[in-house]
Each structure stands twice: as C-alpha cells, then as structure tokens.
Symmetry: C2
Subunit: 246 residues, 2 copies
C-alpha cells in the first residue's frame, strides 16, 4: 500500500508579513517524514476567510490528511474555526464538550471564562475535539482535516496527540553524502544513478563554503537495501570527492 499523502495549511498574517519564521511546517515535515506520511504540499495564507476556505477545500480533496495551524485563539483575528465550518458546509456553535474543558481549566486557574475565551469553544458540527495538554483550548478534527493551534508548543502537543491515529506507512529513510565537486560536474553521473535506482529519490543541494563548491546528495527511500545500492553507485562515481557520510 502506498504511504498516505498529506498537506499543510498555515494560517496567519505573521509569516507572510515577515514577523515570524515558520516553525510548525518544519516540525510537521520532520514528524511526517519519520512516520512514512508523504507531505506533498503546503500553503501559507493570511487571516482571510475566502483564501482559508478555498485553500482548505482544494487540499482536503487532493490529500489523505490535511493539518492546519493557527487562528483558533480568542482574539478577533482568529477566524479559522468559522472558515473550516464554511468549507465543510456545517454549522458552528459553542459546543458543550469544549465549553466544559475551558470551564474546568479556567476555574482551576481562577480566571474568568469571558465571551472572548468562550469563542475557543466554537467547534464545527460533527467535529471531534483534539486535546490540548498545554493550554486547554482544544483543536478539532473534521473529515480528513486536523485543526491545530499556531503557537509552536501547542501545535507540537496537539500533533503528538493525533500522530498515533494517523497511521502512516513505511518510514522514509534518508542518507546524505557530501561531495566536494561543483554540482555541474556531479549532475550527469547523478542522473544516471537516479535512473538506475528508480525507487530512490536522489536530491542534490549545492553549497558554497570557504571558497569551495560542492553538493549534499540526499538519498531518500523506504528500502535500506536499495539505499545501500544507490550509495555504492555514488561512492564509485565520486570516488575521492566524498567528504562526509552521515
């Protein structure tokens, strides 16, 4: 069976305005890579209802799993839950189960559950809650879409909650060979080795360090024997120029 495919939708003005450098996509990509879930596509949109709805509908139709991050807090710019409800064509109300989680949490903290905080209990109909062990307010799953917080510590905790049920496939394996030759000298033998090893993805990532050109050749695949074979091919092609082998 092929691995499940996934896409991510990052929601919020802070990355597109340059204020924040993405952390959640980077974390998700590493988690999914290890789990054998093929992350194929990511989109970053601003706090724009129409773009969230249309991006989400495109992604959920094309992939097995969609993860969103951002826009589920208590402030006026948190519009993700309503946009997800609109994308699925379902109603959204304050849900008793989510409200109870918030009541318990804020009672323990001695904090008022005001109208703004209650917005975090707005959950689209038919969605299932995702626990938030960090700060209480839950995420939710509806269909193949998992809606999570944008704060990295909360995003990571919610992802850890759902990872066991996402299944996944054969974990991807990855090895890197650093070759001290300019990419233009590597390209032709590399293309031949790629052709001879069709189950292995061979990526070339050029670098320029201390006046010297080279490339990191990354081998990715599911079968350790196939990776070892491709690696032997690279070793013969670039004999003497391999600087590092992790």
């Amino acid at each position: 069976m092929p691995n499940p495919t996934a896409a991510m939708l990052v929601i919020g003005d802070e990355i597109l305005s340059g204020r924040t450098r993405d952390a959640n996509l980077h974390h998700l990509s590493q988690q999914f890579f290890s789990a054998g879930i093929d992350l194929k596509h990511a989109r970053i949109v601003s706090d724009d209802h129409h773009d969230i709805v249309s991006s989400l509908n495109a992604l959920r139709a094309a992939h097995d799993i969609v993860i969103t991050s951002g826009g589920i807090g208590p402030t006026h710019d948190d519009i993700t839950a309503d946009a997800v409800a609109a994308a699925f064509g379902v109603a959204i109300t304050i849900r008793a189960d989510a409200r109870e989680i918030l009541e318990t949490r804020y009672q323990a903290l001695g904090t008022e559950l005001n109208a703004a905080r209650l917005r975090m209990a707005r959950i689209p109909d038919t969605a299932r809650l995702i626990a938030n062990p960090v700060s209480g307010a839950p995420g939710f799953q509806i269909g193949n879409v998992f809606v999570m917080a944008g704060v990295p510590s909360v995003f990571q905790a919610m992802l850890a909650e759902v990872m066991p049920e996402l299944g996944g496939g054969t974990p991807m394996l990855s090895e890197t060979l650093r070759v001290n030759l300019p990419e233009g000298d590597i390209a032709e033998p590399l293309a031949q080795i790629a052709q001879a090893n069709p189950t292995i993805s061979l990526g070339s990532y050029p670098f320029h360090e201390a006046g010297r050109y080279g490339a990191d050749i990354v081998l990715r695949g599911h079968d350790p024997d196939a990776i070892a074979k491709a690696k032997r091919g690279l070793g013969m092609a670039f004999q003497g120029a391999i600087a590092k082998d992790d």
Copy 2:
C-alpha cells in the same frame, strides 16, 4: 492606488521532507513588507511537474507578482524551467544570451561547460533573464512570474536585482506592544480598538514565558498617524500591563 499583491512558490523536496527550514520565504516576506508589496499567499511544492504547473497558474492569475525559488540548477531534479514553460504554454530551448553568460563564467573559472551545466541556459521563450551576480546561471522573468534560485545567497542576490523594478506601494509600517495579560483578557478591548481603527491591522500573538501569559500586539498599516491613534487606544485599554514598546 492599492499596493500590488504577490505570492510565492517554493519548489523542492527539501522543505517538505524536513531536511531544510525555509529561509527564502522569510527573506522575501520581510523585503516585500518594507517595500509595500502585499505578500498574500505562499505555496511549497515538491519536485513534481504537475503541481508546479497548476500552482503557478493559480498564483499568477490571482496576484500581481509571483516569485518562485528553487529547481533551476544543473541536476536531474531541477525541473522548474520546463514546468514554467509548460504553465505559460511556450517552448523552451537553450538560449543564446544565457549560454553566453555561462560560457564567460566557466571560461573564467577554467571549468567545462558540459551538458548538465548547459541545462541552466534552458529558458522559456519570451522570458527575460535575471542576473545572478553570485554564481552566474541566470533566473528569468516571464509575464508576472520571477523565477529564482533556491540557494539562499543566490535567491537574495536575484531578488535585489529585481526589487527596483517591482515598484511597490506605500511601505507598510509595523509596531509591536507587549501586553502582560492573558490573551483571553485582551481579546474584547482589542476587538473594539480594531473596529475603531479600520485602516490598521491588529494582530495578537500570544506567548507563555517564565510562567507568565501575555501577547504581542502588532499594529500594521500605511499611515503613521493612524498607527499612533490605535496605539494610544491600546495604551489606555491595557494601562499598566504594557511591558515593551518597540
């Protein structure tokens, strides 16, 4: 006149596999923010011809400017130029002007201009070259799409080449107030201030540091007087809880 809108398309397996954390989108977002170009949407796709073509066509129809990064080197996984040609429905060949740039550069380096390196002279018909002061091989512009390298130093140099001609609008201004109150207490007054200051975008970015909850309130807008007015509103609403004011 409203500011031009822009989108970015990041091409390459390395970010979706978790190997690399994005740098080019982060750089572009900061440059465009200062220049008054509104970056509205970004996509990250793998080295997949179909996804590059369809994403590029969606983005260039919806935005004034599209910037791509990645996939224009000499190796077999560099498929961006061909995908861009397909998206525009034009032919792609080794272009004399691009070939001349490569010949001059590799002659000076004493390096052979082999078939792999010549692939970097493949440019879609009607495209205009973008100079690459770092490593020679050019990017190109076709229609409203600017195709640039993925290596961050080269991406940045190419962007610097084209920034003067992208025009841009009224530069966006941004100020941040750190409020030492939980976001749930900030949300209601903040929504009122947002309503009373419709030309200012007010974002709330919660943090949790050393056991204390708070939020950075980011004010973004074009008019310094309008920002100052919204800031006074925040100062009155959160008197005594403002920790930092950059």
